[in-house]
Amino acid sequence: MSWETVVGLEVHVQLLTATKMFCGCSSRFGDPPNTNVCPVCLGLPGALPVPNEQAVWLAVRAAHALGCTVHPRSSFARKNYFYPDLPKGYQISQFEEPLATGGKLEIVSPERGPVTVRIKRLHLEEDAGKSFHDRVPGMTAVDFNRSGVPLIEIVSEPDLRSPAEARAYLTTLKQVLKYVEVSDCNMEEGSLRVDANLSIRAAGSPELRTRTEVKNMNSFSGVERALAAEGRRQIAATERGEEIVQATMLFDAAAGEVRPMRTKEEARDYRYFPEPDLPPLVLAEKWLASERAGLPELPAARRERFAKQYGLAAADAAMLSASRALADYYEAVVRGGVAAKDAANWVMNDLLALSPGGERLPLPPGRLVETVRLVDGGRLSRQAARRVLAGLAGAPEAPALEVAERLGLLQVSDGGAIAGWVRETLAAHPAEVARYRAGEAKLMGFFTGQVMKKSHGKADPKAVNAALAEALKT
């Protein structure tokens, strides 16, 4: 029996706002616990929510970047349940009238190649506080700094067919959302969280069978491993003749396995109803249209353009367009006068070596351009250039030339000096000179090495070769 896994993902993403979704508290991560709180996000008696306009704008931008239809009119709803870090006993979310529906994300499946994953909906909601179950013995301890932080929830259709595809979806989604500067999408800091739904079916069958929910995955690789484990579990159970029971499965990263949460007899009843404290969210059609038009170039389009416009190989185009910052950087270097392919090499090999992870670009593109010019002009060797770049990374205010000088890396191309070193070298090794003139062309390398040593590595190798060739002629 050949099985197919069917996966849908629900991704919660924190929006890059200064304040929370419904109150003026700072939404900054990492502050001492319970210091960014107020009557609203603590759920005190008499407090009321007021929506954050920046959160709305970012949510709209995300929706547009995912090709969704943004609804000019959407409304908020209460999702009612009890949990220690949910201060009001309900979460303000969107239910019947979400902000956006009907989008898509193009991914590359390791198994199937290019795949379009449909996005069912994208809506706004507020985050809950953070619960710690192991900080204080026997107690659950809660920090409400996170309570009320703006989130968008992005729900995909069950279009994914493998754990690897799920991971590809997440990496692509993260890239798009970072491109449009809507979120940091950092799973370690909790600004991106994933819940998955998984079911199995006979390969080729169109039916959708009972699915389970998989939670507690804390990294993209965790998602892949968790879904692999759950897929295996469901297949094994089904092959044993068991029914798959609807349940919530928690991923245990250490064991690499999933285990069920206690199943409840009744399915959870959130008793959604329209949020009476908030009138509908109304967005002008003209404004929506101009927002959509004003989207920056998205990763896929940029990648394709890089390949075409700059003649780059697919892999190189992908690497250079991985982040918007890097892509902008690359094009600035090209605009600065460096040939496209050279610029690609410099950025991918030399620049990225200085910033592992490629998150923070260590020096402005102008400085890289200056350095490249020095190399092209013969004033700097390729190796020396690396050191200049490292120096610039520490202090990018100084021009590349100054750094090169300070580090004593400028090559000497001065014909007189080079001629002098060549003369001394040849004079010191008459036997080798005779052998070279007798036909041992290989010895050129030896002479070059000697001249370079005399110059403490500073001689321009090209000029050295030329001078040696000239001097050894007779």
Binding site: P39, L44, V50, N80, F82, P87, K88, R271, P276
Partner: protein, 466 residues
């Protein structure tokens, strides 16, 4: 220059005298707090539109000086770390907060009998209820302790006690007064309302607390209330609608006599009386008792013992947080609150939402449309009795929740439709006050206030009506 300290001392004397009679209008008040406020106002040379006034505040409204208990054990001793916008505005206008008044627990009730700290008594007859849920505020005004008070309405809880106690009470258009700091009961219905010894006092207080608040997304932009004391007292050119549904055949004879007399006075003042019909009136109480409990069940979920208020720890500690929730809420909430939370949870639950909550909101639209249609036909205001009977005795309606709910039949329509409404005393029946109600179109407080001022002068509210 206002003599704040003198005003404070006199107020303290009046409150003490009124409370000494057993009215129990207040849950918290002190002369010391009054004097402290007076001294601060005097030092600042305050001179706002309410300078020197002393205002009682219903205990579901957060203030900075006293606890805000909502007359519930679950918030006993709770001192709010923030102040309601309405309270801030009245203080900025130079008024002092007299103290916090008694009410039905979380504003759920029509008599104050559901207060966890004992009921208040109707100053007109201490064996009878003052009405509710703002019964404490109504009794405080009626007893002479204060001349103005803040109350709250979800289903008539300012107008009904105002009628029972013989004082004026106004429920503004939904959104007119900020709800920031009003402990939520039924969010799509709640409004802070005002009570006063007369219409002008109530209107003055309303004028000060009204207006848009950035902390309440449902609050309306500031629209002037109009001159509360217009020069002309004539009602020539004013059309008063008389809805048949509010005058059923079996209406209490005292209420009917008072209403007939008031209508005659309105006619004498030059108003045109017109028979109208609001056909969905009978569905108002059922619709209300779905929507309000539903929203309440959600609004009261925050009382879980985690962050503030009562936390019940069974002797020997509790095994888990669920047990904390259940014990806290089970013991902290009284029977009527528990009843409404359960009712509200039921009507929102899976399988019932469409038949109950969604249906009730649709019926609400029909009720609203009844009003809109009538006002569009040239009617300026509707006149009706405020309550079907005068104040009832303690214990008369607590055994049957439905009997209690039906006392709201004439008042809850305005809450459902969001329109402004007021009650003013229009006579007495065997010594018990009777209230007459004026209902206006959306945002037309100034119209109903104008008519009420004229009627107030033309009617002897202390006279027996039959």
């Amino acid at each position: 220059m206002t003599d704040f300290v003198r005003a404070a001392r006199q107020a303290a004397q009046r409150i003490a005298a009124a409370e000494a009679k057993g009215t129990h209008a207040f849950l918290a008040w002190s002369e010391a707090a009054l004097l402290e406020q007076a001294e601060r106002l005097a030092a600042a040379g305050a001179a706002g539109p309410l300078a020197g006034e002393v205002v009682a505040v219903k205990d579901v409204i957060a203030d900075a000086l006293f606890p805000t208990t909502c007359a519930s054990k679950i918030l006993e001793g709770w001192r709010s770390p923030f102040e309601a916008t309405a309270v801030r505005r009245l203080r900025e206008a130079g008024a002092m907060v007299a103290g916090k008044t008694n009410c039905d627990e979380f504003a759920m009730g029509s008599s104050t009998e559901w207060s966890a700290f004992g009921p208040s008594r109707n100053p007109a007859d201490p064996a009878r209820v003052p009405g509710g849920s703002s019964g404490g505020s109504a009794a405080a005004v009626a007893s002479g302790a204060v001349t103005m008070a803040l109350g709250s309405e979800t289903g008539g809880s300012v107008r009904q006690p105002a009628a029972f106690c013989g004082v004026a009470g106004i429920k503004p258009t939904y959104g007119r007064v900020s709800r920031y700091g009003l402990v939520a009961f039924g969010s799509s219905l709640d409004q802070i309302g005002v009570l006063g010894k007369d219409v002008a006092s109530a209107a003055r207080l309303l004028g000060v607390i009204s207006g848009r608040d950035d902390r309440d997304a449902t609050s309306l932009d500031r629209i002037p209330l109009g001159d509360p004391a217009p020069a002309s007292r004539s009602l020539e050119g004013t059309v008063i609608g008389v809805p048949a549904e509010y005058f059923p055949a079996g209406l209490h004879p005292g209420v009917r006599a008072a209403s007939d007399r008031a209508l005659a006075r309105l006619k004498d003042l030059g108003a045109e009386l017109r028979d109208v019909s609001l056909p969905h009136t009978k569905y108002a109480v059922p619709a209300y008792y779905i929507v309000a409990p539903a929203e309440a069940s959600s609004n009261l979920a925050r009382y879980d013992g985690v962050r503030y208020g009562l936390r019940a720890d069974g002797g020997g500690g509790l095994a888990d947080v669920r047990a904390v929730y259940r014990a806290t809420r089970g013991r902290g909430f009284g029977p009527e609150v528990r009843r409404r939370i359960l009712l509200g949870t039921y009507v929102l639950s899976a399988g019932y939402y469409d038949a109950y909550y969604r249906k009730a909101q649709r019926v609400r639209e029909a009720i609203r449309a009844d009003f809109t249609r009538v006002f569009a036909q040239g009617v300026h205001a509707l006149f009706t009795p405020t309550t079907p009977t005068p104040a009832f005795r303690f214990g008369e309606r607590t055994a049957d929740p439905l009997a209690m709910y039906l006392s709201d039949v004439y008042v809850c329509t305005a809450n459902l439709a969001w329109v402004p409404a007021l009650s003013l005393p229009i006579g007495r029946d065997q010594g018990l006050p009777i209230g007459g109600q004026l209902i206006g179109a959306m945002e037309a407080e100034s119209t109903i206030i104008r008519i009420a001022l004229a009627l107030e002068r033309a009617v002897d509210a202390t006279a027996e009506v039959r």
